[in-house]
Amino acid sequence: MTMTSSGTTRTSFNKLLDEIGTVDQVGIEERVAKFQTRSIKKSSKLWGLKTAVSMIDLTTLEGKDTPGKVASLCQKARRPSFDPDVPPVAAVCIYPFLVRHAARWLADTAIKVASVATAFPSGQSPLALRVEEVKTAVSDGADEIDMVINRGLFLAGEFSAVQDEISAVVEACGDAQLKVILEVSELDTYDNIRAASFLAMQAIRPGDFIKTSTGKASGSATLANTQVMIEAIRDFYLATGIAIGMKPAGGIRTAKQALHYLVAVKETLGDAWLNSTRYRFGASSLLNDLLRQIEKEKTGAYQAPYYFTESAESY
């Protein structure tokens, strides 16, 4: 990068941050540490666990995924537990190639088919191909598209190019809902996460989502970077009245973590975001831990993990 263009990069970041405000790193980290001290027991815990189940995007994103695996994942999504009290999950999240199969298994349910697209996880292929991938997934039956932004463009300060790409994908989505993955672990700073959140939110439609991670990079969702994003959503909503959804993904494996994320939502965005139309968890092994904890709350005893069907261990 030459001197001039790095100068331009700094200028465009400064200009955007001037407009949207910066993030107080120490403050954010103190705040999220406090979220882990709330008293969540008994009925309040049970409500949280069940709500978390209903917010899950049950995910499998592996090279070895097959139609058979997607079929069993869909069965699990429909009926996560023998307990009729446990709601179905919100969506099943898979690669575009498998959308047709998932759509067949979920046709008679309210469970959404979500597909990652746009050269997931890097986003580094020509825009025309990425748009085509989105169109194919939607015509195959995807209700929701999880796109990745081109982090390279963002870090180079090419903000309008980033927004143009998102807009092109929005258009390709048609009626499908869009989730924009920022891949926060590649954005380095909280300021950058806030900046990317605003760029995405300005380009997407009301009811679309922003999402932390692909689950394929070194880092993934943490309470702190999720907090930066939901505060961006809050500020954007208060300024414009446009409600954007949030989806933390990757690294959320235990029920306890999930409850901490919900506490953050409750105390930052309020009750309107405590449902699956505005908040989702991208996860696979989280579901089994939630089911274990629900069972424990009801019977008072922990069951061995192998009593709960395995979905996918990774992600």
Binding site: D18, E19, I20, G21, T22, V23, D24, G27, I28, R31, R38, S39, I40, K41, K42, S43, S44, K45, W47, G48, T51, R194, F198, Q202, Q227, E231, R234, D235, F236, Y237, L238, A239, T240, G241, I242, L262, K266, E267, L269, G270, D271, A272, L274
Partner: protein
Amino acid sequence: MTTPRTIARPPAVGGSIPQLIFGDLWEYDPAPETADPKLKPKYDLFIGGKFVAPKSGKYFESVNPATEEVLAEIALAGPADVDAAYHAAQKAFTPWSKLPGAERGKYLYRIARLIQDRAREFAVLQALLTRPGAILSRGDLERHIYGWNEEVESNAIEFLIHAIRKKLGALAIRNVRGVGWMVDRPS
């Protein structure tokens, strides 16, 4: 957490001001700081193995200094009560002193064992009570209750504090987050 700025955007849809709802959709569980200390309304004198009312019939009130609320009434012993206690002790001493040493030992060992079972709790409580208003760290308390070269378990102090609080109520010992524990100086 973020620097408040105005965001350059078109005015809110429909002209109404967007608001966040912090309602009661998901309530947390209560997290009470105090356990019920189970105080009786009235305490008598313990003389001759049983509780008896004071001969004077006088009681005094024990007041919570924080709220000035009366906690309980406690018997006020007069000279007649002290005499009664003295005579009860005198009466008990004759059969006690006639007991063979081994029999007396049984009683004393039993009492000693009961105290020994709680020795570390007593030691922690003593360390805190003799220094009211001072914050003692985990290291300070470990130094008080463990001998040289004794193995210290990682959560031993927390466990003892918990055991003491269970008996005396949660406010008996105050947590000073990140520093240690203290007992408030009596006001």
